[in-house]
């Protein structure tokens, strides 16, 4: 039987009736029309469906929508800040880190979380931070460029180093 789901999506409260067997990806794409969240395998293998749940990357294809009761979900449509695209998105654009763009939403969200937790990641840390999201087009090279550039940009923006760190 369908159940009521209350949660926050991209900063807005949402209330919806969902079937227990609906995945979060399905709920976001089909019920809310947030088709920026992609799916490449539906089994947790590729990272295309990555969204942030309470700020942490999560694979929406193997998460039940109902498991997100009361939580805050951020999709690619919600990472822009104050009407301006996020510095990570800007850097992806500038560096041509998106070829076909299918992995991009998931990767942008992973990178947003990576740079929040670690504002100046090393090469190895960037590689590790991208390792849950497969990109079949780029060889990750330009994506790594974008992460480096975004890190610099975000460091310039942050009023104090503490702001960039993890919330909890």
């Amino acid at each position: 039987m369908r159940q009521i789901l209350r949660l926050t999506v991209n900063g807005e409260a949402a209330e919806s009736l969902v079937a227990p067997h609906q995945s979060l990806a399905d709920f976001l794409r089909e019920d809310l029309g947030l088709t920026g969240t992609k799916h490449g395998c539906d089994l947790g293998d590729c990272g295309a469906c990555t969204v942030l749940v309470d700020g942490e990357p999560r694979l929406s294809c193997i998460t039940l929508a109902l498991e997100c009761e009361g939580r805050e979900v951020t999709t690619i449509e919600g990472v822009a800040r104050d009407g301006r695209v996020h510095p990570v998105q800007e850097a992806f654009d500038r560096c041509v880190a998106a070829q076909c763009g299918y992995c991009t939403p998931g990767l942008v969200l992973s990178c947003v979380a990576l740079l929040r937790d670690n504002p100046s990641p090393s090469e190895a840390q960037i590689r590790a931070g991208l390792s849950g999201n497969i990109c079949r087009c780029t060889g990750y090279t330009k994506i790594m460029d974008a992460v480096r550039e975004a890190a610099v940009e975000l460091a310039g923006q942050a009023p104090s180093p503490a702001e960039g760190s993890r919330r909890d």
Binding site: G44, E67, S131, G132
Partner: protein, 333 residues
């Protein structure tokens, strides 16, 4: 999109309620922790529970607490990432922290739980496939069929223990707190597994794993976790090993144990007290331990990687772990 089969969904607020739900629904219920093992398997038609009992409503199942008399109590629904990042775990049980961070990817580590890992279903290349694929091949012993595609004459299923954290947990002497309608019991993690990949764990019907209990580390003992996989992320191991030595490495060891996993339904534990007692951990002893640890393991075609290679790699991996303890840089160039 691959769909999940339909089910009912319950979110108990406390362990008592969860246990009575599990008792009520019996075989029809499945526990949902992070869902990173269960939900893909359900999409592949491996399970079709009528009810999922979610652990998310029970705060008591999450978090890491100091245990009386030393050691830690890790709530079963604590995520692998939270375990790996906990300063106490890092200080006392570095091998466990290591093991948590070799699971899948950092994203899955943030969702998957320690309890779910301990109770990760056994895996096999003939089992972890879609319903269509299994129809095309013919169902196997573990799900819907009467033959094991790995060992055609075997009366039991050969699917392998695959959880990254379990070898280290066994060597740490970790225990599991199991709560059922009939009460609770604490058993060694080592005793949770059987030799039949089909009926692979010793939980009683309706039992919930609530905590993993980590005893204080024995003084003078060291544990290392090792994993071999094809791909450096998004990959199960084709070989898992954990190595423990006790005593004075240079003066003389008092005990040693090795656990090898991904080679059969249960992790293979090799006690080596007799072999090592009183001997310093030399290169020769390391080699002997590695041989002894490999001997009882009999990898089969459960994985894409050749059994003979996996067998060979047990020796290399175990010996290299010991070399690391000896302060030798790993033999790799």
């Amino acid at each position: 999109m691959m769909r999940l089969p339909a089910f009912d969904y319950r979110v108990p607020r406390e362990v008592g309620e969860a246990v009575s739900l599990l008792a009520e629904y019996g075989e029809d219920a499945k526990v949902l922790a992070g869902g990173t093992d269960l939900l893909p398997s359900m999409k592949q038609g491996l399970f079709t529970p009528k009810v999922l009992v979610s652990l998310r409503g029970m705060a008591e199942l999450r978090g890491i607490r100091d245990a009386e008399g030393g050691g830690l109590r890790v709530g079963a629904a604590t995520t692998l990432r939270d375990v790996a990042r906990d300063p106490r775990v890092l200080a006392l049980y570095p091998a466990l922290a290591d093991a948590c961070s070799t699971v899948a990817t950092h994203i899955i580590q943030g969702t998957g739980t320690l309890g779910g890992n301990v109770l990760l279903d056994t895996r096999c290349t003939y089992y972890n496939q879609s319903a269509f694929w299994r129809t095309a091949l013919g169902f196997c012993l573990k799900k819907g069929g009467d033959v094991c595609h790995v060992a055609r004459t075997s009366p039991t299923c050969m699917a392998t223990a695959s959880a990254d954290t379990v070898p280290a947990l066994i060597l740490m002497g970790a225990n599991a707190r199991l709560v059922g309608a009939a009460g609770e019991r604490v058993v060694p993690v080592e005793s949770l597994y059987t030799d039949d990949g089909r009926d692979w764990n010793t939980l009683r019907p309706g039992e919930l794993l609530t905590e993993v209990l980590l005893p204080p580390p024995a003084p003078g003992s060291a544990i290392l976790h090792r994993k071999m996989r094809r791909r450096q992320a998004i990959d199960y191991g084709f070989l898992l090993a954990a190595v423990r030595v006790d005593g004075d490495l240079a003066g003389g060891l008092t005990d040693a144990r090795v656990v090898v996993s991904c080679v059969g339904p249960r992790p293979v534990v090799t006690p080596l007290g007799d072999l090592v007692a009183g001997r310093p951990l030399t290169a020769e002893l390391a080699e002997e331990i590695a041989h002894a640890a490999a001997r009882p393991a009999a990898p089969l075609t459960t994985h894409g990687v050749m059994p003979s290679y996996r067998k060979k790699m047990i020796r290399v991996t175990v010996r290299r772990a010991l070399d690391t303890l000896r302060g030798e840089p790993s033999a790799a160039v």
